[in-house]
Assembly symmetry: C2
Homo-oligomer: 210 residues x 2
């Protein structure tokens, strides 16, 4: 990215970032079209290559930016004092929703980055390393400081936590599928949080001591 992009008004900056992320996330690096990006972002074709010299440079910038956001707005916010695993997952889900509202394509974009393959122009190793450590440390954090005494006696807590995690991500997946076809009012969202908490209650009933 060139210095000029820094000086652009923030709203236009954000528009470009979000649109570019969306296209990379949906179509992958190769099939994402810069033409469609500029059209959707409402800027001239020339500007994209004025801000970023090449498509590749734009992509690198987005990965970097995405990691920054995830680090600051997601991973740093995990509440390590919450020993109740299910409650911690609840808080993390809320945090995820918060990030999602501000950057709807961030998560899926970062997931697709792993699929990037271009033997002649690989991602900078430094960036790959940063990505890996962020994920690894994030995972560690998820399970750090959990009070396993919540779980039933004789229960394999490791397996239990995995099963719970999968249940929650399954819920989120089916939820987002449903929500694609609806308009999101705050009311509706609260309604779904209640529904979600209902499922968490069943989880506690299942895995925790009575």
């Amino acid at each position: 990215m060139t210095k000029t992009f820094h000086n652009v008004e923030r709203s236009k900056q954000q528009r470009i970032i979000q649109v570019a992320m969306k296209h990379f996330a949906e179509d992958g690096y190769k099939d994402a079209s810069t033409n469609k990006m500029v059209k959707e972002a409402g800027i001239g074709k020339g500007m994209l290559f004025y801000y970023f010299k090449t498509k590749y440079d734009l992509y690198i910038y987005l990965v970097q930016y995405g990691l920054d956001v995830m680090e600051q707005e997601f991973f740093h916010q995990v509440d390590l004092s919450e020993g109740d695993f299910i409650e911690r997952m609840y808080k993390i889900a809320k945090q995820k929703m918060y990030v999602f509202k501000r950057h709807p394509y961030l998560m899926t974009f970062l997931q697709t980055v792993l699929l990037y393959r271009h033997e002649d122009k690989p991602l900078p190793t430094e960036l790959v390393k940063r990505y890996d450590t962020l994920v690894k440390e994030g995972m560690q954090k998820m399970y750090q400081n959990i009070d396993v005494s919540y779980f039933k006696e004789q229960m394999d807590a490791e397996k239990a936590m995995r099963l719970i995690e999968w249940s929650i991500s399954g819920y989120q997946q089916t939820l987002t599928e449903q929500l694609k076809q609806q308009v999101l009012t705050d009311e509706l969202i609260d309604q779904y949080w209640d529904d979600f908490y209902g499922y968490l209650a069943v989880l506690k009933q299942a895995y925790y001591k009575e």
Copy 2:
């Protein structure tokens, strides 16, 4: 599809079907390349359009074929006499694996069919209807004849079943991600079935009466 395709030797037929499914599943209808298909299937370009007049006809045929297979080799095999929900899920997972071995791209292909969008050439309504009823009846079958008395007293069985389903599909997802980087020996597969059954034991411990 034209009559000629019926008379082709079965192995070549299957090769073409599998390769075409693979490409449609991985790239979607529009971006799937007939050029790559014929190259990978080892046939001349002309043949594909001799068997199927157009790319669209090929696609329709594959959807039809895929639904046939799913109906006969998957949905018809569900053991409705198994009242234990978790055990039924176990059997279904085994059946799924069986189908996967014979048609590795069937499931993902059929999932992507839902994303097909081409306003000028929509899928035949009859086919869409068949797809929908198959899914709906399949879902119904999953939960049909389940003995809810297995579950803990006072537990919301509906929610519990969903949570269990999500856990299992989560397990399968992470498993297939791992398996992508390995060679599949029968030994290894048995090993994973044991591991899987370990998780099912925890599920029973969690949701069922003692």
